[in-house]
Amino acid sequence: MKRLVPRVITSFVGILLILTAFGARPGPDGGGVWPVRAFDYVDRNFSVWFNILAVFAFILGGASLLKSHVAKVAHRRPDWPYSAVTLVSFVGVLAIGMLKLGGPPGLQGEVTDPGAWFQIVFDAIYDPLLATLYALLAFFITSAAYRAFRLRSPQAAILLASAFIVLLGRTPLGTWLSDPVPPSLGFLRLDALSVWIMSVPNLAGQRAVLIGIAVGVTALTLRILAGRGEVDGGGA
């Protein structure tokens, strides 16, 4: 029963949403025969219900984060000071946001107002931290490219040549280096070659991956709708 009920609900909702996707009418509401009206109703309201549930997921996520990190700090598990920092940051930012400190008061007061503490925390701590973390990628990519791009095989040579063309073609340096190329041979310009690599060989690979994923998702969906796939029933 624990497995059956979630599967039946999942199948029912899934089939209903598929029918709705094809049966509901785009555009203004009102009128129509009953199945179409029902599909309209489902189409109109399912997204809203989902969004209400999504808000509760934040509460669940916050509670889960608190539970795991409090336990880690309380039992002095390895790396517990990081958990302490996480807890202080989480509770601090939550309090600043919930109490709308420094910003316009009231439920409608926006926490991103220039004077609000929430915006100050964002500008002074969150933004520089994320920007720094992302900027470090430039160093790691340089090191990784130097070590990984080696002419070990003909395939590696093609990859290396493509990397050269795209890296140059995506910068003004490529445009400058291509300036001597006569207009009749414009297709040999580095920027043109870069666009060609992105639009033809790369795109062929991307489409193959996309179509493969779509077929896989369709197969998986059919299994779930038929009650043969794994459905997370909250520990059922």
Partner: protein
């Protein structure tokens, strides 16, 4: 230098300590950031349709702008948001800002400071543009907007009811917008706007993304996606086109200035790729022992 010594040098060039790479990159980036060279740029196959679409918008056209990025990708995506917002306001369009990212409201505040308040002080919130902000629910928010804007947003970020906003006059659902501009750095983002917003309603979708994400979106171009600003290069192209089209407005050229460090970094990576492969290019002698081993 004899052959053995040359080979030794090539071997060492192929095994440089990563700290030398970091130091070289840091020095080059610092020097370029200090000098701030400005390179000329032009629209590409992918960015031109975005510029032309916005240039062709009639005055007062409502445009949905979704800011789906965080500070991590802001150096690449934010210049696009700034340039597109400036272009929309120059054309007299009505940008309506939403976001599917929790950090989106903060990014919207920065956009308001840097592009709207700084360059268009005469524009009025609610009349010329609207900030609706963040809603939880990822792609389901798009699905709800497709049906009715009011199901998701009863008021703008200031708390003004959406029915009272002149900028939203005649806008009830997604297909009332002239175009959807999605600036994204991941999921949910441009792809979700195409699949859940553009495809079902027929509303044109254009947008921008990080450089690393651009190849994924080319599969949708030019049918489901009318144009794409790919990475910092795309933003730089758009800024350059805006400056050429409206020379009387001297907007900051953040992406174009950032192309200097990016160009130098790319050139340095290429230089290291060459150094790393020099040892592979030298002629090698066959090892008789290995050959014998194979035969055996």
């Amino acid at each position: 230098m004899n052959g053995a010594a040359r080979g030794d040098v090539l071997q060492r060039l192929g095994r440089l300590d990563r700290r030398w790479l970091y130091l070289a990159l840091f020095a080059c980036l610092a020097a370029t950031l200090w000098r701030q060279p400005l390179f000329r740029d032009g629209l590409s196959t992918f960015s031109r349709p975005v510029f032309e679409r916005i240039e062709a918008l009639p005055p007062g056209a409502p445009v949905l702008v979704s800011l789906d990025y965080s500070p991590a990708s802001a150096p690449e995506v934010e210049p696009m948001a700034l340039a597109l917002t400036r272009h929309l306001l120059l054309r007299g369009a009505r940008p309506v800002f939403v976001t599917l990212y929790p950090e989106g409201n903060n990014m919207l505040q920065r956009l308001r400071d840097q592009a709207i308040d700084a360059d268009f002080p005469e524009s009025r919130e609610g009349r010329d543009w609207v900030a609706l902000g963040y809603k939880a629910g990822r792609q389901m928010v798009i699905n709800a907007l497709r049906q009715d804007l009011a199901t998701m947003y009863s008021a703008d970020l200031r708390g003004a009811p959406i029915d009272s906003l002149p900028a939203l006059a005649g806008v009830r659902r997604l297909d009332d917008f002239a175009i959807i501009l999605a600036l994204s750095s991941g999921t949910p983002g441009l792809k979700e706007w195409i699949l859940y917003g553009g495809d079902p309603t027929g509303t044109p979708v254009a947008g921008g993304c990080t450089g690393i994400g651009a190849p994924e979106f080319l599969a949708y171009f030019p049918g489901q996606l009318v144009g794409l600003l790919g990475g910092l290069k795309g933003a730089s192209e758009y800024e350059a086109a805006l400056a050429d089209r409206y020379p009387e407005r001297a907007f900051p050229r953040r992406a174009q200035l950032a192309m200097g460090p990016q160009t130098v970094a790319h050139a340095l990576i290429l230089l290291f790729l060459v150094l790393g492969n020099l040892s592979y290019l030298r002629p090698r002698r066959r090892s008789p022992g290995r050959r014998e081993g194979r035969t055996a």
